[in-house]
Symmetry: C2
Subunit: 135 residues, 2 copies
DNA sequence: AGATACACTTGCATATTGCAAGTACAAAGC
DNA sequence: GCTTTGTACTTGCAATATGCAAGTGTATCT
């Protein structure tokens, strides 16, 4: 399952080998907005990821140290996922994707509000959100 | 072939629906570095894209106005592809991917040199490169 | 103890990708 | 003009990945 088939030495290509499929960045997005998610939380997202794909992507992301598991405070049956520092550092990419989408696609209002703050002071926003996700 | 299957209203999801596969961003990358490419140029890239996938991706990217075709000055048998403004505006995303990769993966020296300029003054770099790609 | 919640697995149909070969047309060479 | 080469794709088919439905194992709830 975890075939690390590196297509070339290009950093873009290598990055895409890790998280460049249709689903991984959506998992990262959920974790950026919610900070921590359970397996069930991911399944609830609007895009409707299949359970086997979700399990497979969570594993790959964990192997690549983008996310990590931790114990749920309420129950041992639940698992919490959260971003590692490596995963949190995908935030600038995520922000630029949102900015591009704002320019060329339609975008919901709540997201627009966030982007307003981003555009006001991007480095500040990134620093603040990074700190929040780390904490 | 051109099924626009929108998974949700999330801008990240919608963006990935357009160029979020393993190959599209590599095509965009080639066009950012080379400005204009022929079909054969894309095939020469290190990752080794299959001809049918390339044709399919070029079509999708063209349909989504990320790239456009133009006549090759030398020959009517050749086709030149280049980025539209919408495609050029993917540059900030491309840059952030490179910066992330620089931090967490190994990255070739020539790319490092470029990133040095980026880090010196990111908005300036983006503006200059955008202008060059538009011209 | 039995039911329920949660995090996955498994099996199988469908869709996408990857590879090899082929086609169509323009240009270059003889 | 006729063949050969270069370029941009298409086509066919095998391999792989995805999507869906159902099932499994463990922990908690009653």
């Amino acid at each position: 399952m975890n075939k690390v088939k590196k297509r070339s030495n290009c950093p873009v290509s290598c990055s895409l080998d890790i998280w460049g499929d249709k689903w991984s960045l959506l998992i990262v997005r959920d974790l950026m907005f919610a900070k921590e998610c359970t397996y069930g939380d991911f399944l609830k997202s609007a895009e409707g990821i299949a359970t086997n794909i979700l399990a497979s992507r969570l594993l790959t992301l964990e192997e690549n140290k983008i996310i990590e598991k931790l114990e749920h405070p309420d129950s041992k049956a639940k698992v919490l996922y959260r971003l590692t520092r490596k995963g949190i550092d995908l935030l600038p990419i995520m922000i630029e994707i949102n900015l591009w989408a704002e320019k060329y696609l339609t975008i919901p209002d709540d997201r627009k509000a966030m982007l307003k703050k981003v555009k006001n002071d991007k480095p500040r926003f990134i620093k603040a959100m990074t700190k929040e996700l780390e904490g």
